[in-house]
Structures are given as C-alpha cells and as structure tokens.
C-alpha cells in the first residue's frame, strides 16, 4: 500500500475525530434544560460548581481527542493493507469508547451535585409526560415522489453500462433505503420540555422538518453520486474523488443538521420556567435509555435529531448486543484481510480440471469445458465488479478493456497469466504466485 493511499485513508477517516469533539463539546450548552445528559434548572446552569465541572469535562475531552489523534499517526508506518486496516479498526473501536469516558465522568458528577443541591424535579415514581395538544399535531410526511428523481438518477447507469450492474444496483438501493429510514426510523413523539404547548410544537416541527431534509438530501446526493461514479469509473483517482465528495456532502449535511437542530433547541428552551420535564432517571450515564414502562423499542435522542434504543426491551437489548459484538469483531476482519493478503495464489492442473485458489476462494474448470487457452504477458486495464483487489491478489469478477467480463484468480505481480476460454464463451484468467506457474499449467494442458 503506497504512502499516498495511506494518507488518503487518513484524510478520509481522521475528520471523524473533530466531528466527535464538536458534538461532545456541544453537550455543555443547555438544550431543553439538559447539560451533559443531566436536566438542570435554569438558575443551576450558571452555578460556579457546574461551570467548574464543565470546564474539567472540556479539558479531559480535549486530552482524550489529542490522545486519539496521536494514536492514529503510527498507522502511516504500516505498508500492508491488512495490518493498516486492522490498526484502523482497533482505532475506531477505541474512538467509540475513549472520548466518552470524560462525558460519563461529568454526567455522574453533575447528577451527584443535582441530588445534593435538591435540583431534582423527577418524581420518585416512574412517570410518563405527554403534551396532548402538541401530540394532536399530525406529522406531514414528505411525498415519496420527492425520492423518485434521485432513484431514477441512481438507476441511470444501468441503462448505459450493464456490465457493472451489481455495483449500480447496490448503490441505487441506497435511495429506497433512505425513504424507508425516513418513514420507519422516525419516533413520532413530541419534544416536551414544559407545559408550554407552543414551545413543544415548535421544537417538534424543527425535528420533523430536519429529519425529512436529511434523508431527502442523502437520497439526492446518492443519485448524483451514482452518476459521478459511472462517469469516472475508469479513472481511479477521479473515482476516489467522487467517493470522497459524496462522503463530505453526507457528513457535512448530517453534522450541519444536527448542530442546527441543537442550536434551535437551545434558543427555544432558553427561558424555560420552573416547571419542566425531568427524565434523567431513565437515562443511564445520560446517553442510554432504559425504561421498562415504555412500550417503545426506539425513542428520540434527548437532544438533536437522532433516535436511540430503549434498552429495557428485549429486542433492543439483542440488537444493541449484536451491534457491540459487531464493533468489537471489526478488528478481526482486518486480521482476516491480513491472512488473505499473505496467502499465495495457486494454480493447479489435474487430469480432470484446472483450479485457481486464493485463501478461501476457489474456481475450477473441467478440462472438457475448455475451448482455448493462451498465455498472456500483459494484463488489460481491469475494473473490479465484485471480488478482491489487492496488490498481491485479484480475484472475482472484473471487466477488462476490450475483453469484457472476466473471472480472475491471479497474482498481478507475477506474470505471465493463463487465459482460458470455456466452450460457453466465458473467460477466466488464472495465475499463481510462484514464478512460471501459468506457463507450466499451459504446458500440461496442451
């Protein structure tokens, strides 16, 4: 893996860190009377002890983020793709834990202070609070027609380039997924802060409007992305630029909308009176919702636009456990890639068949199905449709310029390669990691 690629990956992944920092730092500003996951009365928000705890939280979080930044740099030293990826995935797992430690510490300290000062407003008995007038305000869903133009745009490459259909179809599926997420993931609960129904309605409208805006923007960005990919598919760096641009647009929009909603929540609830809703007892560390009396599996996040799981529900527990297991298992994928990277490509000829093998993949062709063979010394320009593309191995489905669809199982560093045409016209390109493997196989086949 070249240094250019490693720097590119660093540039793609590292912005997650400042985004996380901005989001966590923003928790210090009161929104819906909530500061770092703790509901506090208006007077308490300017209390000197509270401000001191928040300053300490900011310091600790800055330190955690600098530590994560420093931990990312050594990854540039790994030249192998597998080891590079493993390091990144371990870093991502650490990123999901380390910056949140100061948050949890601050949340606990604020809760203790709240108890000690008698700021707690939540009753001892479990309660649900609902604003009937605000709840009667119906959600106006965006028409599905708004999602059709981006769907048509993302399907357009299929009309011009059928050879890469799995890629275009997979990308185009993102648009209906956006619509499904828009309709199914939204938790239609009003944003009750106090007894002021107009305030609740305004906050609810802010969330609803921005929820639709995010998913619609995502759908349209996907439409343009697919067209961009189709136009640049033959040029690696241009194609990477389009992917990068797509990522930047989505991230900017997501972060922008989240911050915009938070700012409005901050403004609209800046003058909350003495009567306000306090649901702190249902939030573990201010971030995990646990309420056995709530029948919902998903609820709105306390601030911003997101949704989260009710961890008191069995399906939510299973999904959360699965997600945690998936996150922790991510580095194993990197280890698996390391094994794949180091595994040699093998080419074997027996009395009955020709077999190309790489790691867990294998392709066999019966000798009676072979129509023609040819040993080639130059590879055509290849575009991957589905499979593995590494410095040490190219396996799976590829499109070769002037050759059409090919099934590859080769080590691109070690030529020549054996081109096999089957009686049904399909093409295979085999080659081994050992020198002269293709020539020896061709000799045996002849």
């Amino acid at each position: 893996m070249t240094l250019g690629w490693r720097l590119f990956m660093l540039a793609v992944l590292l912005p997650v860190l400042p985004i996380l920092y901005v989001m966590l730092r923003d928790e210090c500003e009161p929104k819906k009377n909530i500061i770092v996951g703790v509901t506090l009365p208006y007077a308490a928000q300017s209390d000197s002890v509270v401000r001191g705890l928040l300053e300490q939280y900011k310091r600790e979080m800055r330190l955690a983020c600098w530590a994560m930044l420093a931990a990312a740099i050594p990854n540039l030293l790994f030249s192998g793709f597998g080891s590079f990826l493993t390091y990144w995935l371990v870093w991502v797992v650490a990123l999901c834990v380390v910056p949140f430690i100061p948050y949890i510490r601050c949340n606990k300290a604020l809760r203790q202070l709240k108890e000690a000062r008698g700021w707690k407003r939540a009753p001892d008995a479990p309660q649900a609070v609902a604003d009937l007038q605000a709840a009667a305000q119906e959600m106006r869903w965006l028409s599905p027609w708004w999602f059709l133009p981006p769907l048509a745009a993302s399907l357009a490459p299929l009309a011009f380039d059928w050879t890469m259909w799995p890629l275009w179809l997979a990308d185009a599926l993102i648009v209906p997924v956006c619509w499904l997420c828009y309709r199914c993931l939204y938790r239609n609960r009003t944003e009750v802060v106090d007894g002021d129904s107009h305030r609740t309605m305004a906050l609810t409208r802010v969330r609803r409007y921005n929820w639709g805006k995010f998913w619609l923007t995502m759908a349209w960005a996907t439409g343009f992305f697919n067209i961009g990919m189709w136009l640049t598919i033959g040029h690696v760096w241009l194609c990477m630029g389009v992917i990068l641009l797509y990522g930047v647009v989505i991230c900017t929009e997501a972060v922008g909308i989240e911050l915009r909603v938070r700012r409005l929540q901050e403004k609209l609830t800046a003058d909350c009176g003495a009567e306000y809703v306090d649901e702190d007892d249902r939030w573990i560390w201010g971030m995990f919702y646990y309420n056995p009396n709530d029948s919902r599996m998903m609820v709105n996040a306390r601030v911003g636009i997101n949704a989260t799981f009710n961890l008191a529900k069995r399906p939510a527990q299973i999904i959360a456990l699965f997600l945690v297991a998936l996150l922790l298992a991510c580095p194993l994928f990197g280890v698996w890639m390391m094994g794949m990277e180091r595994a040699p490509v093998e080419l074997a000829v027996t009395e009955t068949e020709v077999t190309g093998t790489h790691y867990t993949d294998q392709w066999s062709i019966a000798r009676e199905d072979i129509a023609a063979i040819e040993v080639i010394t130059d590879l055509p320009r290849l575009r991957r449709v589905a499979g593995t593309g590494m410095d040490s191995a190219l396996t799976g489905q590829f499109n070769g310029d002037g050759w059409g669809r090919l099934t590859l199982c080769i080590d691109p560093r070690q030529g020549p390669w054996l081109l096999i045409e089957k009686t049904d016209g399909t093409l295979f390109l085999f080659g081994g990691s050992q020198e002269g493997a293709a020539a020896a196989a061709a000799e045996r086949l002849r």
């Binding site: 309660q127 609902a130 604003d131 009667a136 938790r187």
Partner: protein
C-alpha cells in the same frame, strides 16, 4: 395540556388518561371542538400500548366527553351529556365518607368549593 401517567400507582393507565382529560376539559385546558391525538399518536407519546390508549378513548366516548370519527379522529365534545347516575352515586358515597370522617355540612361544601376553584377556575 400535560398528561402525567404514574406507572407505579393502583389506578390503571387508561383510567388515569380518562381522569386527566376530564379534568382538563372541566378546567378549560381542553376546549370543546379541540382535536385530541390519534390513538397511535397518544400511545407513541406516552410510550403505552395502543390498546390502552384505545380503551381510554372508548371510555371517554362512552361517557360523552369526546367524539371519534374516521376523518377527524378524537375531538372534545361540544356539549357533554347530562350527569350520569353513576356520577351521582359516586358523589353520594364520597359525601357519606366525608361525613363519617367527621366533617360537617359547611366543611364538606367548603371542600367542594375549594376543589371547584382549583380544578375548574384554576385558582
């Protein structure tokens, strides 16, 4: 109008919803003709089962406090019905209980007046 449901009490949740809506109508917090959330929205709002929300609305409808229609959903009724025999029976029992608790006529009437001022006039 804020609905507060207590999940640890003895009163069933649907009954709490019914009681609080009746109190809010009496206090003028919910006015006749005002739309209430749909059964689904109410369930989502309170985090309760749809059947519980539906049961509360059925009770309110049967008692004449709301009307429900396919197009408009639940609406606070313009003219609630007459005082029902079971309400009168309940009132009679409560007055008897207060008398047995040692309260006299004037004290009971003052208590009723205070409750009226608090719940209806909002004083």
């Amino acid at each position: 109008m804020l609905l507060r449901l207590d999940f640890s009490g003895d009163t069933p949740v649907y009954q709490q919803i019914r009681n609080q809506i009746v109190s809010a109508i009496a206090a003028g917090q919910l006015v006749p003709g005002e739309k209430l959330p749909t059964v689904r929205a109410l369930a989502e709002e309170c985090g309760i089962n749809m059947m519980t929300a539906s049961k509360a609305y059925q009770l309110l409808k049967a008692e004449g406090y709301i009307t429900t229609g396919r197009r408009d959903g639940a609406v606070v009724r313009l003219q609630p019905g007459d005082v029902k025999p079971e309400t009168m029976e309940g009132l009679r029992l409560r007055v008897c209980e207060l008398r047995l608790a040692g309260l006299g006529r004037d004290e009971i009437l003052k208590l009723c007046g205070d409750i009226y001022d608090k719940e209806v006039e909002g004083l």
